[in-house]
Point group: D2
Chain length 369, copies 4
């Protein structure tokens, strides 16, 4: 091939000279025996970092689109598409653990000691993703509160700390939900209707329990106690004061109005104008779920790789990692949201004018295409 100066060549475009010259195992140097599997270790982590870069590229653009005073409807399609892309990448991150697990503990030991005290805990990009999603200081598990920044260079630490004051996906979602306009529509006050539906539902359930002759007294009491707990949960949702108290105790994280809007979106997601918002709630949940799945798989993999040994970076290994799985959740409120759903058949119908307001009016108001 005769190349013109300006012709783009695959290897130049991808900077393969740099990219493929960045794998330098430390075994095999300085008199150490070469360990075949260290290359895998390097490449797997580098692939992670490339995907992290891509996730950050998407996440930053999402945060940027959501940080506007108002999120344009047309942007919502873009935001959802980029979140969907993040999820596809996260799926690969999870599956990639299968590749790492082709390395046996014995093979790992051939070079593990050379890496001390380096640790995946020092991945700046991973921490950036966590912060950008909304896993900021107060929301981290205790170990991370103490140690999130402890093993980084000063430059990295300052860079990340600077991000803590910037907007995160969690905060922007909270703000966007908080200004959602559908909850009070002219004379229509959705939550009054909703409270009525909940009360009717609970009364009906109580009737079923007390009328059930097949139960022992103890069983009946247990069921009634459970019903009472359910009522309390609804009371907490519908009473701003109680809700804020629960928020103060760390039981919920979303603001009151945002939580109500999220419940509304779930309940009326079939309305055209809510397709996009519902998609965004699901995307936030699933990004969190995939991160959690990755944490769980990673924790198990570490255990099988090092057993009871401590991590190269000094963490307690598997035990620490499992705690992050259960507790380092950004959108836990969205997991718990089903607590506040009621059955479609119990759902108050929307007034016609609200319904029209949630549809399209192209071509003269037929409301369909």
């Amino acid at each position: 091939m005769k190349r013109n100066e300006e012709d783009v060549y695959y290897g130049d475009y991808l900077q393969l000279d740099k990219l493929l010259d960045a794998q330098h195992p430390v075994s095999g140097t300085a008199g150490r025996a070469a360990a075949h599997d260290e290359m895998l270790f390097v490449v797997v982590h580098q692939v992670y970092e490339l995907w992290f870069k891509q996730i950050l590229h998407e996440l930053r653009s999402v945060v940027c689109l959501m940080a506007r005073e108002r999120i344009e409807e047309r942007s919502l399609g873009t935001i959802n598409a980029r979140c969907a892309r993040i999820r596809k990448i996260q799926k690969l991150l999870v599956d990639q653990i299968d590749v790492m697990e082709t390395m046996t503990p014995l093979d790992f030991m051939d070079f593990r000691d050379y890496l001390v005290p380096a640790s995946g805990f020092q991945s700046v990009q991973f921490k950036e993703i966590e912060i950008l999603l909304g896993l900021k200081g107060e929301y981290r598990i205790d170990f991370d509160k103490a140690c999130f920044y402890s093993r980084l260079t000063e430059g990295h630490r300052e860079y990340l700390q600077g991000m803590e004051s910037g907007p995160s996906l969690f905060e922007l979602l909270d703000r966007w939900l908080g200004r959602m306009p559908f909850l009070d529509y002219e004379q229509y006050a959705f939550w009054d209707e909703y409270r009525g539906a909940v009360d009717a539902m609970l009364a009906r359930d109580r009737g079923i329990i007390t009328g059930n002759t097949g139960m022992t007294g103890g069983e009946r009491e247990a069921e009634l106690a459970e019903l009472e707990k359910t009522r309390e949960r609804f009371d907490t949702l519908l009473d701003e004061g109680r809700y804020e108290a629960a928020r103060g105790r760390g039981e919920v994280r979303l603001s009151h109005r945002a939580m109500l809007a999220a419940v509304f979106i779930h309940l009326y997601r079939d309305e055209p104008i809510l397709h996009g918002p519902f998609g965004l709630l699901m995307n936030a949940l699933e990004i969190d779920e995939l991160l959690t799945t990755w944490r769980a798989r990673h924790a198990i993999m570490v255990q099988r790789m090092i057993g009871h040994k401590i991590g190269t970076g000094g963490s307690s290994g598997h035990g620490y990692l499992m705690r992050t799985t259960e507790n380092n959740r950004v959108f836990l409120d969205l997991y718990n949201l089903p607590t506040f759903l009621i059955r479609r058949s119990d759902l108050p119908a929307l007034p016609d004018e609200v319904k029209r307001g949630l549809g399209f009016y192209f071509g003269g108001g037929e409301g369909d295409v």
Copy 2:
């Protein structure tokens, strides 16, 4: 557990007595040696059939929603969600081949002869899926045209033939696209604008080629010839007579107006009212793509399982299967659609009144939420 009469029990609910008593390998009966792996063969196929049942459940509901005179906007969310579910199931169908491949050819031979002339070709549900998607008589590959019904019982044949006259996803999509109202909007005739943009683009490309002094004469001619082909493709799209002629030759399958609408949706998919329609086009494409991927994986698996032998049902095995992969495509037009896209920067801007018509007007026309 003391069970009340009306208590639902897991095993009863799922009819496990029937379900788990439906595996009856023929090896190990009538004096034949038992073949351990026949159970896998039975179970894998049964799981396929269960998933097919679920796919049909979704596909029929989608067809039903789309068969209405007008598709409500609110239904579009449901249709897209059910299509997405079909895709998730299809993903499993592909991955499931990995399980089948744990059976070696030698293990398969332990019971293969007992199955003659049964064949996956006799799966009525699979054929139902094909017909419901739109793979009807004239669109099948030649072998299938001749043999699609040949190995079925009369009852099954009649049942399937009865479906050929009913609506398929392809036909309903074609009809829905054909009545899409956005293409001519009051005084605005999109396609005149589009033709202008295409002409400008082609003229610019011609200028670049003729002005490129780095090319030999032969190279220039080749590029110009390629450009001419591109122009012809656009001419075919934009001229109904030429398009219908191409359709008569089997080069395209969608009606002219439907194809134009599909191109429009791709080009302006960011407009809120087109989010749902764009999603539906992508769903149709991806359902087809996953079916195609399954066919390819399946064809390769069959080859590694039986080599040059003919299939139990008498087909020529791998060769036949690979032809279905390349040619039994329902939504091939959607794959080829990028041929007609032009760059966003070359795209004619929509007039404001059209743009407004494609957005939401909740809360007084701000166009965002």
Copy 3:
């Protein structure tokens, strides 16, 4: 098609009349509104049960082959192949959760109440798998100790309780490892050599720590304390009395001799005769890991589906499920085994006669093919 009496027909062979007539959603009956998504719920669980049947088919055959007085070398290939198949199926079981998650909490509520008190907790086949793997009474988490049998019919309970006294994969693996003949080979006593190597390694590490002038006194003390813990772990492994005491406390589950054999296999897995045994250890570990991964994914899915509500079967839902993830592990010892590995470069060389004993002697002893 003219069918002969004896011709096998696809649908008959798979008993599709039974299989495809076993989906009977309870919504849509007895005056209840039909819920579209209940079919998915039924089919997903039925597919699980079909795969469970296949896993049990493989697991029982593995248990049967391993229950012999001696496991033939030729059987080891079969055992490993069947374990590998189980793993492939387990992979699907995990991925299948993606399909279930296409159902939203609101869709689930349309029929959830009709199912009470049925629960996946009543899957007899799942409990069979757990017991056959080795998750018997004393090894279950506390909740399961109390409730494992509580919600079953009497017939199912008796059936499962009968299995508790039969052999499980864990016990057979333990027994097989316990009689592994390589550990003492004529005059060669592996563990004396091993203890020497461990002592040398620990002495060297102590030297590095005490000689490191870059550490503060506190850091040095911490490192020495950690080293001391490592020494204690090795002492526990190598001293039968201490090991049995740890076993009494539930810290390890494998017998002492079995654990030593497992460590030996890991260390010398490159020797030809150990390829099969090493494969079996990895299979046991990965079957456990995939079950654990499924539990974690399932727990998260349940949380997003029901939030804080209690399970249909009365369990506390997500919290309970996460505890089974971390604690219901059969082969936890194999995860922790890396604790006892030493680096290849520190490994005592096997005497030639042992090495020969671990190879093939085909064709006159060249030891290779």
Copy 4:
């Protein structure tokens, strides 16, 4: 963190400064509009190249181990483990297409023209993998024969051409199979026994066909013709002259003796000494299958991305890619091998002394562990 000079830091170890500074989209430069999705395009391809580097690391080590005069039995475990790792990586390469497909054709067009004439066809590492597997000159499809080297720089072309004369996995496998010692064992000539078994099987099948009164004359003739073809295939396998003629016609690629050994390994894979060799045959097949699956998925993805347009590198796009899928197969002989298998029940029993020769003799010849 106070770092010592010699402390390893995560980002330094992985050379993240280089790695994360190697993404330079060309859109957004030189007055061009920035295209958000170009970053994805760059990162996806870079991840491919990192994985290719790892595959080459494994493949070269496998080729090196197999290039020895004799392959040590202990090496076989290593070879199989590294092949298994390659397969896990290949699985990711296939799944990764899902990520690329989140980019729509319209998004691709925002920067596609800037890349001309770069093309994935210029990936040197991918071509290295193809050559190392054994896809050398004469075995390529016609288009590749002409163009394999056409779009590379001279340096890259020379580098790759230099590899064509080196050993490939195919050739080494062929050589290794060719020297397999089990086929003639002292007085035992396996192939005489095998031919007898085949003849008996064919005679029995002929008897069944001629004795079947339910067939028409035409059906019987067709079945007998098919049987005759089967006999011819076996004749070709068992007669070196005919086999070599078929090889000359390109119908088979393995040498005669290698093919016989491969059939033998399949038939007697349960014997301990054949576990490793059987694993290697399966690994070779599956690496080929995964490459083929990737090609098929990639071809479909390209079609949906560019439709009828030609590739940036000038190839005819989808059509070309589908041809490579069907025809650029290295281990096609292993797919077709089942043609030569006979049922276990028809298999001649191995004489005791051969059987012993295929087992382990640890601990005095019990043949099991």
